[in-house]
Subunit: 465 residues, 2 copies
């Protein structure tokens, strides 16, 4: 007799932690730092606060040889978490505040919990959280663990303190077993690239080797992304049926205008006409075949491109950063207009830089720097959609040998949903709509680089003569 | 005010289906076939039945240009599913019968549901299931969908029929929108490699192009893997605490002997002595510091290697298959003794073949064929742990140029838990214990190949003179 059972989400990710970026003690270190710093950055940007983040990593003497018990503490001046949400925010997997339709680094409701879970299963110590929301008179202090079988928080201690200094933000501290020595280089690379994209961030990093300050260079915060409606192109049937059942009392015209961006009165009426229905048709009476018709109309209708108000592209900061680090002799950059996939708006920005300090890539490698919602992607570039685009392009057309010349590629994608291929956010899946936008953007830059190199070669040829 | 919410596991995977192998309509086709065939193979092997599987893929005329509505039907003669479990087996994500400690292809309790979910969100049609267990007098027929928000089955229709022919097994049928044309090649490659590993399988494959039969070549079924206990080496603290709380009434000695393989009376007493405790010590009285001591003893104790009774290596069939397809002039093969990681036993088997029909790899590629629990891994070899091992080895030591000679590598890993890096089971994570075993196994084969090539070069050199 086979034993059928259901497991909780926390049990699932405990059993399969390699899936979430915890495949070995070196990678675990990196993933933990990444998850905590991204939570802090989201918490500051969501309410327009200039981020002040402190990361302290302390390798204690204990451990099992190569792996040591490491204490990590991350402090930020962000929006904090209200008292009643803290236990679930850090003790319930698939719980969070980022399931909304706007750009943020978090999307899964999992990252912070996985970091804490890994610490719990390797050291048995609880996590400490101190937080206060903006304007709150109280500081909330929690000591807690995750009940992994039940996916419930387990609060060991709670205390309140007077918030005398009017501080707001969050401090998280816990221990875990990891190989910090082997992961340090990639952690610093991650923080360094983050500081290039976010000149308005101030981050102090302390470990056993010393202190690094990624100093704030600008007080200019990008505008805060606003929550938006789905773009109708690419909506699947599940989402359509769900929106219909939520809006049972609406008329068809009202339903279309209120639930999707880029559908105004005229377009709604045009779509309704294609369905052979009336604007006042009660949406709950739509039959399955009408819904499928609507789904197909949405796929093929020529809607205006999505609005960018839910997005926050990286823009100029990327170019400033590239110039500062690589001092290239040439740089081509462009930002695509917003596009969408499965209803999610996205913007692709790419740059190709040439010369200066850019190294000629070593055997068959490509200098590709990838970013998603302002997160630098440091691992697994080979299978990333951007790498696929670069390898599929026939660079002979542009008379560029990408393996033998000092060329660097930069790709940033921002979206209300980044289609990561892995839960550790290592690389982006080969989604056709993204592929197409990255290709168009890179080819535009390739043409400019090609023109520059032609001019340069012509000039050098004439110089010789 | 930020909106905090919890989402269900089905909602989570619906939102992030790229994570589960559904990143585009071509890959979705492949993943769907893979998930259904693996479920059928597990269902036959679990009770020692020679698999008879039929896969029918029918591209209907409808769709949106490149992507067509596809009807898939898979029928097997396996163990079937009892009536009361069917709705959850196909309607509740993170539900299944494979959360046990033995080798099977399934591990997540997700695959079949994701396939059905993808069909549901792209075509809105329900799934049809017909099943009967061994010896059952009834056939059970379900028409159902998944309530994605709630992670609950939604049964639209149920009927019982008399099982006149005493059939047992399962038939699953549903429609989905996909790009079968572009995925067909990889699907056939997957089925072909599966038939090589499993000469006892009979699989009939029908699509719009015709019919293919992967004929049974042998009636010899490998022994059925038995459920086992965790191996103590590498057990984490969560598992240890959980086992202690389940076995509250036991004495310490009883607890150790009953819950872990390779701990007999003598070893238990030795471990208890290292803890400065007595064999009769009630295990529920263990303090946290004792548990951490036990955890550390488990890490460093020289336990006997795990038993292989929960595993089913591929053995001879791999060699027979390689010889049949590639007709190599030389082949080196070895099977490692069982090892373990995080308490899970695993066996690595590798082969290196040379010459015959093996092609010289094209620009910087490597002929690497990977298998995990007898599943051929067709995608994303670049980041797989086996590929990392091959690239890290200095092949000059063996005087082999793996990029310029007709060499093919074969790696099979079987375990009670395969540490996949992705939920689509595309490649295996870089887990140190696995890396080490793969390296030792490949080096052993490399030495044999090196000796053969030296002899061959010497012989050809002498022939010239
Ligand atoms: N430093 C922080 N300041 C304020 N809120 C935070 C902080 N860290 C976590 N949170 C809250 O806890 C929730 C859960 O965080 P967690 O990292 O587990 O998931 P997420 O960030 O929503 O998604 P992801 O898994 O993609 O990181 C967040 O949605 C956020 O509301
Ligand atoms: N063809 C089949 N015959 C018998 N039982 C089946 C069949 N297909 C599915 N099942 C049952 O349904 C359960 C759920 O299947 P599902 O594919 O969703 O998950 P899984 O196979 O357990 O794990 P994975 O996600 O790794 O595939 C299985 O555990 C098995 O008990
Ligand atoms: Mg997060
Ligand atoms: Mg399965």
């Amino acid at each position: 007799m086979l034993k059928f059972e259901e497991i909780s989400p926390s049990e699932f990710f405990y059993r399969n932690k390699e899936i979430a970026g915890f495949e070995n003690p070196t990678k675990a270190c990196y993933t933990i730092v990444r998850e905590l710093v991204e939570n802090s950055l989201d918490a500051c940007e969501i309410c327009g606060i200039l981020p002040d983040i402190k990361v302290v990593i302390n390798e204690t003497g204990e451990g099992d040889g190569i792996n040591k018990i490491i204490k990590i503490k991350v402090k930020d001046n962000g929006i904090g978490i209200p008292k009643e949400n803290v236990p679930y925010a850090f003790g319930k997997v698939l719980y969070g505040s980022k399931f909304t339709l706007r750009q943020h680094r978090g999307i899964f409701g999992l990252g912070g919990k996985m970091a804490i879970l890994y610490g719990q299963i390797t050291t048995n110590n609880p996590v400490k959280i101190i937080t206060s929301t903006i304007g709150s008179k109280l500081l909330h202090f929690f000591v807690m663990q995750i009940d992994i079988l039940k996916n419930e928080p387990n609060i060991l201690r709670y205390e309140e303190f007077e918030n005398k200094e009017g501080w707001h933000g969050l401090i998280i501290e816990f221990t875990f077993l990891g190989n910090y020595y082997n992961s340090r280089k990639k952690i610093l690379e991650y923080l360094f690239q983050t500081s290039i994209l976010l000149p308005y961030m101030n981050l102090v990093f302390m470990d056993n080797y010393g202190m690094l300050v990624f100093k704030r260079k600008s007080s200019l915060l990008p505008k805060i992304p606003e929550e938006t409606l789905l773009h109708p192109k690419g909506i699947d049937l599940e989402m359509l049926k769900r929106l219909i059942s939520i809006n049972k009392k609406e008329t068809l015209k009202c339903f279309l205008v209120k639930n999707f961006q880029r559908i105004g009165n005229k377009i709604a009426e045009d779509i309704i006409k294609q369905l052979n229905l009336n604007p006042d048709f009660p949406v709950r009476k739509l039959k399955d075949e009408d819904i499928i018709k609507l789904y197909n109309i949405f796929k093929n209708y020529n809607f205006k491109k999505p609005s960018s108000k839910s997005l926050s592209p990286v823009g100029e900061n990327l170019i400033i950063g590239i110039k500062e680090i690589f001092k290239p002799e040439f740089i081509a950059f462009n930002t695509r207009k917003p596009s969408s996939y499965e209803g999610h708006p996205f913007i692709v920005e790419t740059a190709i830089a040439y010369g200066g300090n850019i190294p000629i890539p070593s055997d068959n490698e490509i200098n590709l720097f990838r970013f998603a919602n302002k997160i630098p992607l440091i691992y697994d570039s080979y299978n990333d959609v951007s790498m696929k685009v670069i390898k599929d392009i026939n660079w002979n057309l542009y008379k560029i040998d990408i393996y033998k010349e000092p060329i660097a590629f930069f790709v940033h994608i921002c979206s209300t949903k980044i289609p990561y291929k892995t839960l550790g956010k290592e690389y982006i899946a080969n989604v056709p709509e993204l592929y197409k936008e990255i290709e168009l953007s890179l080819r535009k830059n390739a043409r400019k680089l090609s023109a520059y190199l032609n001019k340069k070669r012509l000039y050098e040829y004439q110089k010789k003569r």
